[in-house]
């Protein structure tokens, strides 16, 4: 650091101190009504968002909270993808964080059953004011409210490269057969149609789940999620065969099958929106937008856009929405935690993130106008308006089956990507793994 820089820093620090001192004095003399200085404490918070995927946005939410509660310190820790297993170990080890953000209702149910979670009954009033009752149900286990679904992601979205679609002369497909026809044309135009991030198993399960939802509807979807339908069921065969039409089209995948297996989620996004593009579309949730804007030069509307997952069976299934959600749970109960949970259930808390994009919510008091652009509005609005909303299937299952790297569903769908012809074999292995996981859960 140069001498001048040090000087600048010193001055900045001095000014900041001065300002802080004045502000403090102001608060004391004017009795600033907006602030609650009585609630004090530290909250440790384990979350899935890392520096590149939401940590900053959540920090802004915390910042807003601290305007009202300056004496509560929220220590957010980005754990990443392995959060369910990390948390399970921490709970088993007797040292869980104060709060955690869990994407898997299956995990929440497990912790609730073990009595590790503290109910958040105290926030019921705030939640009722802001969410319709079906969202309260999502956080309720055996009659008690344990979780707040703070953030929801619309997973029934496909992102496409606008110039690639334009140069191929295709428009976003409405039906699955149109999708396949478009893909063929896109391939003739010289760009592979699909960008698959198969190194992250969850991108593959998400694709399967959308296909299953679009083919058989929400009721059957939920039955399979709860393992009331076996994975050897003919419906699974139909859905896998449909999926094979996409992932089996090796020449139409960015990097071919071997590339698709090595690209992670982020790679799949950058591949589709690089110039020149390495593929034309990505099947993933609303959070693709964040990666597009942070790591590529593509601009909304002229560079990238979205369409709803094409319908497979006509009718009601076509508008169903699969969501992924972040369930906030508490392992302890302190005034500071209560204040934070209540705050998170309000519209301003959701808006603090929503206005930055990559954030959907069931909070009905968040106006659609808060979303930064038309694309975000188009992907997030259906979450609170859709008639039929289902939760990510793999997230509802026991973590050892639905949410562990290279194991269970994630690993087996990667095997399916390697060999999409072996539908029966994969069904058998999925059923065996699911049966084992559910048996252990009991």
């Amino acid at each position: 650091m140069t001498r001048t820089r040090i000087g600048v820093v010193c001055i900045t620090v001095a000014v900041a101190l001065l300002a802080a001192g004045l502000a403090g004095a102001g608060t004391r003399s004017h009795h600033h009504t907006g602030q609650n200085l009585a609630v004090k404490g530290t909250i440790t918070f384990d979350g899935i968002w890392t520096a590149s995927s939401g940590q900053k946005q959540f920090a802004d939410v915390i910042k807003l909270f601290n305007k009202t509660y300056p004496n509560v310190k929220v220590n957010y820790k980005p754990v990443g993808d392995s959060l369910p297993t990390v948390l399970a170990t921490a709970v088993a080890g007797g040292n869980p964080p104060d709060m955690a953000d869990i994407a898997q209702p299956g995990t929440v149910a497990q912790f609730a059953k073990q009595g590790k979670l503290k109910p958040i009954t105290y926030a019921k009033g705030t939640i009722a004011k802001n969410y319709v009752s079906s969202w309260q149900q999502l956080g309720t286990y055996s009659g008690k409210l344990y979780a707040l679904v703070f953030k929801a992601a619309n997973k029934s979205v496909v992102w496409y490269n606008v110039p690639a679609f334009k140069s191929a002369g295709v428009t976003p497909p409405k039906t699955f057969s149109q999708l396949l026809a478009d893909a063929k044309v896109i391939k003739s135009s010289g760009t592979p149609a699909y960008s698959i991030g198969g190194a992250d198993g969850w991108t593959l399960t998400d694709m399967f789940e959308n296909i299953y939802l679009r083919t058989f509807g929400a009721a059957k979807y939920n039955a399979l999620s709860a393992h009331k339908i076996k994975w050897t069921d003919p419906s699974v065969k139909t859905a896998l065969t449909t999926m094979g039409k996409i992932i089996g089209d090796t020449g139409n995948l960015a990097g071919g099958t071997s590339g698709a297996l090595q690209y992670g989620f982020n790679d799949s996004v950058t591949n589709a929106f690089a110039t020149p593009p390495k593929a034309a579309m990505v099947f993933e949730a609303d959070f693709v937008g964040g990666v597009v804007s942070s790591s590529t030069k593509a601009k909304p509307n002229t560079g990238f856009n979205t369409f709803t997952w094409p319908s497979i069976t006509p009718g009601a299934n076509a508008s169903a929405v699969e969501i992924g959600g972040d369930l906030f749970v508490t392992f302890r109960d302190t005034p500071a935690i209560r204040a934070f949970v209540n705050f998170l259930a309000t519209a301003p808390a959701a808006e603090a993130w929503a206005k930055q994009g990559g954030f959907g919510t069931g909070n009905k008091n968040v106006p659609a106008s808060v979303y930064p652009d038309a694309i975000t509005k188009a992907t997030e609005a259906p979450i609170s308006t859709a008639k039929s909303v289902v939760f990510d299937m793999s997230d509802q299952q026991p973590p050892s089956f639905g949410a562990t790297a290279a194991q269970g569903e994630w690993g087996l769908f990667q095997d399916f990507l390697k060999n999409p012809k072996d539908v029966a074999g994969i069904q058998r292995k999925l059923e065996a793994a699911a049966a084992a996981a559910y048996k252990k859960g009991k």
């Binding site: 995927s53 820790k77 990443g80 921490a90 992670g264 790679d267």
Partner: protein, 294 residues
Amino acid sequence: MTAASAVEIPNPRDSVAAKTLRFVARTPLHIFLIIVACLWMVPTIGLFITSILPASALASKGWWQVFSHPSTATWSNYSALFHNHGMLTALKTTAYIAVGNTLLVVILGAMAGYAFAWLEFPGRDWAFIGVIALLVVPLQMALIPMFKLYDTFGLFDTVLGIILFHVAFGLPFAIFLLRNFFVGLPKDILESARIDGASEIVIFLRLILPLGLPAIASLAIFQFLWTWNDLLVALTFGQNTTPITVWIASQLREFGTSIDIIAPASFISLVVPLCVFFAFQRYFVQGLLAGSVK
């Protein structure tokens, strides 16, 4: 360093012509060695260059293209990282673990090493055989039971818990190395100190530790590097208390784009061991040799 002893001593009787001839004859060897040395450095250099390129540049170009477009290089990855609360905490945790472990291993190892070398008690040799047996025990043998035990005693997810695990598994080597070094110290110095009435504590502190410094330095460097670089122990016994390796591992899911976090963080994680290595290279190599050859 060992290479010093291998340096060729020029024979004064060699003529200039003979020297030149030999040099020419050995040119292919020199070229080969230069190529190998460069190849060996490529991955580390690649990591460094990757760490100073923005993610958008890395998505479409290989790191080596920085040589034709030097303007793309930027320190912004690093400055972003140094504003990252999690990374700084992880770095601090790593330092605590590495330093704490090193101190404890050196102290406990030296005490035990001294006992095995110069103090008498029944079953000394048998106990030492036990230590030798423990040298190769894989730490996997202790993961599950200690996980349970830590849970009971509140050591789970604490810096202390991680340190103590490392200390235990570092001790057999420490005791072994120091005992062998202490045994080689001149006996008469110790005997005369004892005759002068010095207590064992005084002898240990005033004589053994200073005389054993070379071996202790080697041991300390080994322990420091080992714990600094550890992944498995911290992965198992730390959840909120994570050193830098585990912190980077938790970012790995996003490999591809968050390469702008992983690469600089990995590079930061290896800067400290590299500095230690360069500063104490001599001791490092000595420790290595003491551990493996006669």
